[in-house]
Amino acid sequence: MSSPTVRRIESKGSVVRDCPGTRKHICCGYKTIDLIEGCPLSCSYCILRGYLNNPGIAVRTDSGAVIKEIDRLIARIGTHVLRFGTGELSDSLALDDELHVNGPVAQFFGERKKALLELKSKWASIDHLKPYLNPYVVISFSVAPQRMIDMEEKRTSPISARLKTLKKAQDWGCFVGLHFDPVVIYEGFEKDYADLIDEIAGTLDLKRVIWVSVGCLRFTPPLMNLFLREKRANLLHSEFIMGEDGKFRYIKAERVKVYRMLYERLLEKEPGLFVYLCMERADVWRQATGREIETTEDLTACFDRRIGEFYGGSFA
């Protein structure tokens, strides 16, 4: 990947934050580590297009300070297993082969053995990380039908490469995650997503997929203006309403339909999969999955149970 302008910066204040979540919707209680700000992949729907003002990429160079901050947080919060990720303000892996920012952090999680680091990406490149990987690092990929990738994620790795990379991570002993996010409703999306799930099931060992998130396309009003100006017929194909968090999202009936379809198909492939909805309402959770998830704490507890299934008592 050709590199955009990269600025190396020192951390000013905290770089570890709670995932901003979204008002009146249930969040998974994830912690974000802002090692990199800005993303070279330029997906058309990316929320970063409306968030970050500085063009180019900013990289924290002082990984030691960042690790200390993570360590303090792990020591302070003993009520549940913390999950951290570096993919909130950037793609975790897109530039990592060049910048090498994740390695030391991944190594720390392997040594600390008290929390998980999730590297979330659409860029199929993990070979450089092999020396640092350990069971406490979850390699995750956003997954989407290739047709969607061709239209809206043009600079990212093809789905087949992403799945092969996940398989490789599994072969190296890592647990992996899948993120169907954003799910986009377009002409023929049902079949494309069904085929995608078949491809995933044919490639990965689903018993070693630690979590699967599903989240329908949602975006801020400035992005709506951008989609209109750019005539993104694909993204605007279905019907949007303004959610209680001030973001556009598909009308509830459509979201429930999509979630049910994906949830049921995924569980058909592996009944033990842990599938969660990203930034959804309690009633949507209930209608789509039949599960009573009312609060962020409810969902966090589900994660703790899941992690317990995978790691046994090692987090005690």
Partner: protein, 304 residues
């Protein structure tokens, strides 16, 4: 003060004209009563051409005045353009006039930084996207310019208007002029039309013809862009009108049908009114009104 015959001025040279429209009823009345008091500024270029005073000239011509006071400016053409712009800045400029100022600077070869400086003075954000809209406005067909000025459209709406093809723009202007809406109603109309164009590739103006007001146009557009939401709204309307709620009992549903819960409020001036309202609500509950409303707010049948 020296005067010049209008015939001796190159009146069709509008290189420095940043006024739009030239017709000005107040100025016309003033000139009719007192004549042209402030001299035109002219630049020698073969025949003299006007730097400032286009509106005065227009008023004078309408009134049949043949001679006007003038002063010659001994400045370059670039300075003349800046003089015209700054002279007009002493009054509030409309969106088209601002666009003309900027477009003429670009045509005259001013540097982008100089153009941005004037944009800032005119209250226009100095950005490339704004510059594009400004240029489109300056070069727009007369009908669009006139529409923008008549309805005092802000630049954000002008940008949306120019997003459409000229034929579509014509249809939009015709439609908007037929209902006399407000800026906010035009904003919503344009947003829905953009959405419709993106989703379907075209706007069927025939479906919108005959709407009695801006809200009716918005509803017709929304039925096309948001069929599911429109259907829910329609069903809710039917349910609420069928149960004949007394005016002191209000049932409110989230307009996006996101929230499952509904708000019921009642206004009462006595215990008896409260009792009556509660009886009415009990009766409506028995008739299944609220169950039907909750089916709408749930969005889909529950999982079994």
């Amino acid at each position: 003060m020296e005067t010049v015959e209008i015939d001796k001025i190159h009146v069709n040279d509008r290189s420095f004209c940043v006024s739009y429209p030239l017709e000005d009823a107040l100025l016309l009345a003033s000139v009719a009563k007192l004549g042209v008091l402030v001299p035109l500024s002219l630049l020698r270029k073969g025949h003299p051409i006007i730097v400032t005073g286009f509106k005065r000239l227009d008023a004078a011509r309408r009134l049949g005045i043949r001679e006007l006071p003038y002063v010659f400016l001994d400045i370059s053409e670039r300075q003349a353009l800046l003089t015209a712009i700054h002279d007009n800045m002493t009054r509030p400029l409309n969106t088209v006039e601002k666009a003309l100022c900027i477009d003429k600077m670009l045509t005259a070869g001013f540097k982008v930084e100089e153009v941005y400086e004037v944009m800032t003075m005119l209250g226009l954000p100095p950005r490339e996207s704004i510059l594009r809209t400004v240029i489109s406005t300056a070069w727009a067909e007369e009908q669009a310019k006139s529409f923008i000025v008549r309805h005092q459209l802000p630049l954000t709406l002008v940008e949306r208007l120019f997003w459409f093809e000229p034929e579509e723009r014509y249809g939009i202007i015709r439609l908007a002029d037929s209902v006399h809406g407000t800026v906010s109603s035009y904003r919503e109309m344009l947003r829905l039309m953009m959405l419709l164009k993106v989703k379907r590739g075209a706007i069927d103006f025939q479906q919108l013809d005959g709407a009695k007001d801006a809200d009716a146009i918005r509803q017709r557009l929304k039925r096309q862009t948001h069929p599911l939401l429109s259907d829910l709204e329609e069903k809710l309307k039917v349910l609420l009108s069928s149960c004949a709620l007394p005016p002191h009992i209000k049932v409110r549903v989230d307009p996006a049908f996101e929230k499952e819960s509904i708000d019921i409020s009642l206004r009462a001036g006595s215990s008896q009114e409260i009792e009556e309202a509660l009886k009415k609500l009990e009766c409506l509950t028995g008739q299944g009104l609220f169950r039907s409303i909750f089916e709408l707010t749930h969005g889909t049948p529950h999982r079994v």
